[in-house]
Symmetry: C2
Subunit: 147 residues, 2 copies
Amino acid sequence: MPADPPLDPFAATLGYQLRRLSLLVMADLADGLEPLGLRPADATVLLAIRINPGITQSELGRMLAIKRANMVPLVAGLEARGLVARAAVNGRSQALTLTAAGERLAGEAHAETDANEARCFPGLSAAERRRWAATLHALWSDGGGPG
Amino acid sequence: MPADPPLDPFAATLGYQLRRLSLLVMADLADGLEPLGLRPADATVLLAIRINPGITQSELGRMLAIKRANMVPLVAGLEARGLVARAAVNGRSQALTLTAAGERLAGEAHAETDANEARCFPGLSAAERRRWAATLHALWSDGGGPG
DNA sequence: TATTGTTATACTCTATAACTATA
DNA sequence: TATAGTTATAGAGTATAACAATA
């Protein structure tokens, strides 16, 4: 008697499938970013600053759901590597921008996120991915979901 | 000049949206399970044993992507609470089953996962959720995605 | 009085390495 | 020789509390 494969109690559980897929995609992204010396969180920060030059740490944290306290070592690390520059806005806030090296690396990070999407979601056109992304976005950004 | 909301560089990034949504769903599930004294991982183990009575720790770990070493305290905790029972299969493997109390609590955990799905994915029928879940499942379980 | 940035710290989850006993 | 279960431990990511300086 060949051992039956175990039954999957979560085959119809969207939340579980979402999590398993997300973990796989994140692991693939982490692998792809490693040669750039970036973790996923570093890359998201670089890309968010690139498209929002002058954004502050607090705004960045709210937008990316990273706590202020955890933004500190993250941004400090990028600044120490000469990728991000800070300019005082008003004595307590500091505007973040990318240095030339930061722009360059952000470009590479962006290319890697594209490659990650292509690897993880083969058979989906860019337009289809955009549509799916919008659907998922609505589920967490709206009041549609849980509180 | 009202402060413009920051631009979202990940609006079209499926992997990022997947992650943000997954985190929200997991947090909601954790909240819902807390009154039962269960974490999400505990609940997945209970439900997997319930549908696969006699499954071993190793099989369980492979199925749920939990490392053997991390299964130990997890299952031990459930056993200590009288929810799970072990029966030697062959000197090195042990068949896991639910006790009566375990069955009862697994039932409540299952009800909570249903409630979690309903809260997080309102407007989706059970059939639609099943279809979506299958689509996501294929992306991580197949060789379709990254290696 | 609320917010920014910061420090220090704790907690959870996950990963690795090594070991014993068994198949 | 490979596998099951175990132990100990390390690491990442995230969370809380408190503080100083500023708005």
